[in-house]
């Protein structure tokens, strides 16, 4: 049993659970204490010192994020002493900070800028410490740019990369005045273990870490009359974009987003959900083939569990850290890349446009997708399959640049072909969604019946928990699937690479056995991706997740194999899942990489 602690903040009495911090107690009273190094997702660092407050009877100020409450404590969050110190601390950070706010991607979204504005720091006293501004930018990665001149050394990125992602691509180097956030031997981000997931970006309070932007290239393509520009939108974008454009977290803006994309000038607005459904057909069949090889043919070489391959951050992670498990990775490309390969083949033929003139753009909740599109393998159409990848945030930027009043737009539908997606495709945006979509289809293929869950909602695989497990008993199968009769299909789902790391260790130790594992690099799955709006925490992730599942429920089409465009593409173009054509366009291979 935990005890209740009584204290007062700014003269107002408050009671909180023992072990809570002063900051949490203040939040309960709706007293705002500015913070920078603090983030709900991360362990406490207490290094920025912006959140210092005065405690009666204590000479020095205390860091409210790091100090537990104690009985009878009297706190002042706004005394003269606190205000003077807080202002000094922000002035010091500004002295170290490249203050070219108007040229910064985070202008208007910067936590340092916002606190500085509140404190009205108009005439700072201190000497500028910013080194040569151009030299400090690492822009070699196709996904992430790191600009040390904007870094405030809060170590939120370092904690994110280590604690949430278990990657450790960035760490603190040197001490004193030289202290900085660096990579292994200060190599550029594209040459280290960085998975490009972009979680460091969504946890960075300033513009020190941002995605590499391709907005200008996309505007150029749209302006080029020779080009036919197609755009695909990932499932999680529709539940995140609204946050950048004045809507509450968790608002679904799918059809407004479609309208906006059309107004931006894209020639065709299509849906990644379509290739999510296609992924289910290919990957579901691949899983059944692997199960057949293992259970029926007794082939000892078949790699199980099969792991999903839609998350390019996870793919790069396994390539670095668990290369011995690469055969376990599904050979299916991600929905983005399947779409890209088809845009310049199937789609080009269908609308009779020279694929050389097609520019294929994708809107993703993800920064690793930028990297993925640039992988050398991703040219199976004979061209670069996906030309430019924009994050949800970059799309919001384009919408603002175009002067579109987003909330005034009429709702519009996707174009066709490759514009129809099922609810199963939509839920790809949430952790557990690929598993659920795959089960909806695979179970039905094998048994001829719907999955035995009320309303198709496979609840055990849903939610923000780090590791989820599900067992599905397969019974009364169709004759051709006899070898699966009575089999308990064992599944696991993780989100966030630290959880993936835990799962892989459990599998490696032999503690756990599964047939199928779904792994998403980001917390909450794609809806919590590195390309989604700032800020993010579990409350916001949950709202986006609720929106995803409500979108699924709102559709009549909720199973991938029932998508008419899927039937059509197999009839007209691919033949059947895992066909020769499928292998050529929709499947890929992986590379073993250095573990550091």
């Amino acid at each position: 049993m935990s005890n209740t602690i009584n204290l007062s903040i700014n003269g107002i009495a408050v009671s909180v659970e023992e072990g809570k911090t002063i900051l949490e107690a203040a939040q309960k009273l709706h007293i705002n204490i500015p913070t920078l190094c603090y983030h709900k997702d991360l362990c406490i660092a207490g290094n920025c010192r912006v959140c210092v407050v005065e405690q009666a009877g204590v000479d020095r100020l205390v860091a409210s994020c790091a100090t537990p409450v104690s009985e009878g404590m009297e706190i002042n969050t706004n005394s003269l002493k606190v205000r003077n110190c807080r202002k000094h601390i922000i002035e010091l950070l500004l002295a170290e900070h490249n203050e070219e706010c108007t040229k910064c991607y985070r202008n208007g979204h910067c936590e340092l800028q916002s606190i500085a504005a509140d404190l009205q720091i108009t005439n700072p006293d201190f000497i500028d410490l910013v080194p040569d501004k151009n030299y400090s930018i690492d822009s070699y990665s196709p996904s992430i740019e790191k600009d040390d001149s904007k870094c405030i050394r809060c170590q939120r990125c370092v904690r994110t990369c280590a604690e949430i992602q278990s990657v450790g691509a960035i760490a603190v180097a040197h001490k004193g005045a030289e202290m900085k956030i660096s990579t292994f031997f200060n190599q550029p981000l594209n040459e280290v273990v960085c998975t490009n997931c972009g979680q460091c970006i969504v946890h960075c309070p300033t513009g020190a870490l941002v995605e590499k932007s391709y907005v200008e290239q996309v505007w150029d393509a749209i302006a080029d009359p020779e080009k036919h520009v197609v755009v695909q939108t990932a499932p999680a974008v529709r539940v995140g974009l609204g946050e950048e454009l004045g809507f509450e977290a968790g608002t679904r803006v799918t059809s407004r987003m479609v309208a906006a994309l059309r107004r931006l000038g894209f020639d065709s607005v299509l849906d990644t959900d379509f290739t999510a459904d296609l992924t289910i057909m290919e990957e579901g069949t691949e899983l059944l083939m692997r199960l057949k090889a293992a259970l029926f043919d007794d082939n000892p070489d078949v790699a199980l569990p099969m792991a999903t391959s839609c998350s390019p951050g996870w793919v790069k992670y396994i390539e670095h850290k668990y290369p011995q498990y690469l055969p376990n990775l599904s050979t299916c490309k991600s929905p983005q890349q399947m779409f890209g390969a088809l845009a310049k083949t199937y789609y080009a033929k269908n609308i009779d446009v020279n694929p050389a003139n097609i520019v294929s753009v994708s809107i993703m909740p993800c920064t690793a997708k930028k990297y993925e599109a640039n992988r050398p393998e991703m040219k199976d159409s004979g061209f670069k399959d996906v030309d430019f990848v924009l994050t949800t945030r970059e799309l919001a930027v384009m919408i603002k640049q175009a002067g579109i009043e987003f909330d005034q737009l009429n709702e519009e539908n996707y174009d066709s072909i490759m514009g129809i997606g099922s609810g199963a495709g939509v839920i790809f945006g949430a952790t557990g969604g690929v598993m659920e979509a795959a089960l909806r289809t695979a179970y039905e293929i094998v048994t001829g019946r719907e999955v035995p869950f009320n309303n198709l909602e496979i609840k055990p695989v849903r939610g923000l928990a780090g590791v989820k497990e599900a067992v599905v008993l397969i019974e009364n199968v169709r004759p051709e699937w006899n070898f699966l009769e009575g089999v308990e299909l064992k599944c696991a789902i993780t989100n966030g690479l630290e959880n993936a790391h835990q799962l892989m260790e459990a599998i490696e130790r032999g503690d756990r056995y599964y047939h199928f594992i779904e792994i998403m690099a980001c917390p909450g799955g794609c809806l919590g991706g590195g390309g989604q709006p700032f800020p993010v925490d579990n409350e916001i992730r949950q709202k986006r997740m609720d929106a995803i599942y409500s979108e699924d429920l709102s559709l009549t089409l909720r199973k991938s194999h029932e998508n008419p465009e899927i039937t059509q593409i197999y009839e007209e173009f691919l033949g059947k899942p895992l066909s020769h054509k499928s292998h050529e366009l929709l499947h890929t291979s992986y590379v073993k990489r250095q573990p550091y």
């Binding site: 290094n47 210092v52 000497i127 050394r153 001490k175 202290m179």
Partner: protein, 395 residues
């Protein structure tokens, strides 16, 4: 050279070579833990590492925590420039330090101790290992399950700060932690830990041998006992001296100065500069009821004569801090750079003299908000030098 006005009493408790370690320990082990803790508390011994926390209380608090394992760590990081008293103690009377650790281990219930040895003192390792061999034999004979290992530091000054020291021992980057929790509850490997300075442990041996009463025959109220000082700078007799606590800086200067002493820096870079006009009113000891100012020190006493530029002294200290700050917290990382760049700018005439007042206010913020003792104490030397030698900063 002028003739000596006065000589301070030289104390010989730490370095006298007594080899009755086993007997003393046995005597202490025969007493109840409570008795020994009371003896320590009554002695009034305060930590000699600089912060001056009452040692008896530290042991008592750790003894009361119900968690295991517990650790005893001897802080031998001694990174303060110009300080080498811990090295001297570990060279000449290491058995006393180990005996102090064993006594503490018995009381708090620890089975593992470490000496966190400054990297530069690696040359001491062979002789310390020999000493440890003898010590472990005594532990066997006295039936105390307690082992001590040496952990070699990495050479960063900040690793002498206790929580950064734990981080460093745990294989992490040497960055101070948030406090609370304190080491008594949550130290090395997040377990209850007593961490004491080399000299503190050696004093506890003295207390065990002669009793608290005898210990308190030296020193003054709130600052009992003797202390080992590293005397350096403009003095004809630099070196290591054990002196009584409570002495005035005047008495110290009369004994150790060269007749032309302008100021004394008490406590190294993180300590205070005492100008001549304050010699009489400043005393060496811990905060307490002394009249005048009490100046704690880890042991460094640096004497400056009138040929010294106080600007250069401050410039050196600030350069040291801006390099040795771990760099994690804003007031210290950026503050130190601002102070250093700031005094340079004033000196060069790029900033007006009044800028020094802005910097003084900044040191106030650093003292109030820095995460650890390093950043908090930069204000000490800065304000005491700038306030007393303002002209030297400007012209």
């Amino acid at each position: 050279m002028t003739t000596k006005i006065k000589q301070l009493k030289r104390i010989d408790l730490i370095f006298n070579h007594e080899d009755d370690c086993k007997e003393i320990l046995k005597k202490s082990f025969d007493r109840t833990n409570e008795e020994v803790i009371n003896e320590m508390v009554n002695s009034g011994l305060k930590g000699r590492g600089g912060a001056g926390f009452p040692t008896g209380l530290k042991w008592k608090l750790t003894a009361e925590v119900k968690d295991s394992p517990k650790y005893v760590i001897c802080n031998a990081d001694e990174g303060e420039p110009g300080t080498f008293k811990d090295r001297e103690i570990l060279t000449r009377v290491p058995h006393k330090v180990l005996a102090g650790m064993a006594m503490c281990a018995k009381i708090i219930g620890s089975r593992q101790g470490y000496i966190y040895l400054r990297g530069e003192y690696k040359f001491l390792v062979p002789q310390l290992r020999e000493e440890l061999r003898k010590f472990h034999q005594i532990m066997d004979e006295l039936n105390l399950d307690f082992e001590v290992d040496i952990f070699l530091g990495s050479g960063a000054y900040i690793c002498g700060e206790e929580s950064a020291l734990f981080e460093s021992m745990e294989g992490k980057r040497g960055e101070p932690r948030n406090k609370p929790p304190f080491p008594t509850e949550c130290g090395y490997l997040n377990k209850p830990t007593v961490i004491n300075n080399v000299e503190t442990l050696a004093h506890s041996y003295t207390i065990m041998k002669y009793g608290a009463k005898k210990f308190r025959e030296l020193g003054v109220k709130d600052s009992w006992g003797s202390k080992v000082f590293s005397v350096s700078g403009d003095t004809p007799i630099p070196g290591i001296y054990e002196l009584e606590l409570g002495m005035s800086v005047q008495d110290f200067v009369d004994d150790f100065g060269d007749g032309d002493t302008k100021a004394v820096q008490v406590g190294g870079a993180s300590g205070f500069l005492v100008p001549r006009k304050r010699f009489a009113k400043s005393h060496i000891g811990y905060q307490g009821k002394l009249t005048g100012v009490s100046l704690p020190t880890g042991g460094s006493m640096m004497i400056f004569n009138s040929s010294r530029s106080m600007y250069n002294v401050l410039d050196n200290y600030l350069d040291f801090f801006q390099e040795e700050s771990c760099g994690q917290c804003t007031p210290c990382r950026v503050g130190c750079q601002q102070l250093l760049k700031g005094i340079k700018a004033v000196k060069r005439g790029e900033k007006p003299a009044a800028y020094l007042d802005k910097l003084l206010k900044l040191t106030d913020t650093m003292r109030l908000t820095a995460k650890c003792g390093l950043g908090q104490s930069v204000a000490n030397s800065f304000s005491s030098i700038v306030e007393n030698f303002r002209e030297e900063m400007i012209y």
